[in-house]
């Protein structure tokens, strides 16, 4: 096809003549007063009554109701608090378990790390080794475990509690 997709090849005399015919076509006008007749049947939107269509990520239908959102937020906060308390009260036991489990591979890695630090910098190595040896790995592991479990739950709960309600549904661009 050429630049004119109407033609299969170069425009023929017939094509040109048809274009001349088509060029004579004009738009028609409805009878006078048409706009007034339409406007008499149109409800002019009141300012502020318009809702802006907002696209949102899909949210399960249950979460659209505030009561479910607050329930989930509450249960998330409760569970994370309970988990934090449990970890705090059982810290020695958790530490002992983690140490026991990681003793084989963990101890070797720990020693290698200390050795590496000592080789890299005598002063830093000695200081780090002294601090780490005095506190031991228990508190570090306990704190990290608590944070890992508690943060996602708390964040989810807070997001559900404070997210704003949907403004309106997205409408499709359908012919009425």
């Amino acid at each position: 096809m050429t630049d004119h997709p109407e033609y299969n090849s170069e425009p023929t005399e017939a094509d040109r003549l048809l274009d001349l015919y088509l060029a004579t076509l004009q738009r028609f006008e409805p009878a006078p007063g048409f706009a007034d007749r339409v406007m008499a049947r149109v409800v002019v939107t009141k300012p502020g009554a318009v809702t802006v269509p907002v696209r949102r990520a899909a949210v399960p239908i249950l979460l659209k109701r505030p009561v479910f959102g607050w329930s989930l937020a509450g249960s998330a906060a409760l569970s994370s608090t309970a988990l934090t308390l449990w970890v705090a009260t059982n810290l020695p036991a958790i530490g002992a378990t983690v140490i026991a489990v990681t003793q084989g591979a963990g101890t070797a890695t720990w020693q290698a790390l200390l050795g590496l630090v000592a080789v890299w910098s005598a002063w830093a190595g000695i200081s780090a080794a002294a601090v780490l040896t005095s506190i031991g790995p228990g508190p570090v592991i306990g704190t990290a475990t608590t944070a890992v479990f508690a943060m996602p739950l708390s964040t989810l709960g807070l997001w559900l509690a404070f997210r704003s309600a949907p403004h309106s549904r997205t409408r499709i661009h359908a012919a009425l």
């Binding site: 088509l22 004009q26 339409v38 661009h173 009425l176």
Partner: protein, 200 residues
């Protein structure tokens, strides 16, 4: 600078936004811009002035009362032409059914029964409106367009009278781009056949 001046220079999208804030002049601006194109499309489709005016009015009432559902990623012209074209096509389909029923009840077994169920049409005199219509649609090209299938007719009108792109016509008619090109090509071929004898 007046608000009216600004509206007449604004894009369709801006005018729709203004209408959504409650400005009646924005509604009237949309009417001013589209009443002729929409009426022309429907009139050439249904070929009856009075009916075309009713369908055009219905189209505008639907569109203007649903402006808050307009999605700005689409062209406003595509949206309104789509609704107008659907209104015309729906009417043509209904008229086809009515035409069938004018022939008599489909279950009529005998000639008498068929005649009894036929609708009697009053003879229509030539009103001033008919004269206007005959003048408007009486040219050879208008008559030739009137013989095309409705979907070919829509394509030719949107392309050659409204100057719409192939892509927009595809959007308006809900057809693949290739189908639109084919329809226009075939419609042109048919028009050339019909108008052929006039060249001599």
């Amino acid at each position: 600078m007046t608000q009216a001046w600004r509206l007449s220079n604004a894009t369709d999208r801006e005018v729709v936004e203004a209408a959504c804030t409650g400005r009646e002049d924005a509604y009237r601006e949309l009417l001013r811009r589209y009443q002729r194109p929409v009426f022309s499309l429907i009139y050439r489709m249904v070929r009856d002035r009075e009916l075309a005016e009713d369908l055009t009015q219905e189209t505008f009432v639907k569109v203007l009362n649903a402006l808050d559902t307009y999605r700005s990623e689409f062209k406003f012209s595509s949206w309104i032409f789509k609704i107008a074209n659907n209104a015309a096509i729906d009417h043509l389909r209904r008229r086809q059914l009515d035409t069938l029923s004018l022939e008599g009840a489909p279950d009529a077994q005998t000639q008498e029964r068929r005649e009894a169920t036929q609708l009697q049409l009053a003879a229509r005199g030539e009103s001033p409106l008919d004269e206007v219509q005959a003048r408007e649609l009486g040219s050879s090209i208008e008559q030739a367009i009137g013989t095309l299938r409705p979907e070919y007719r829509s394509c030719i009108i949107l392309r050659h009278i409204e100057g719409r792109s192939y892509e927009e016509i595809a959007e308006v008619l809900d057809l693949p781009l290739g189908t639109v090109k084919t329809y226009i090509h075939r419609a042109r071929a048919e028009l050339m056949t019909i108008l052929g004898p006039l060249r001599e």
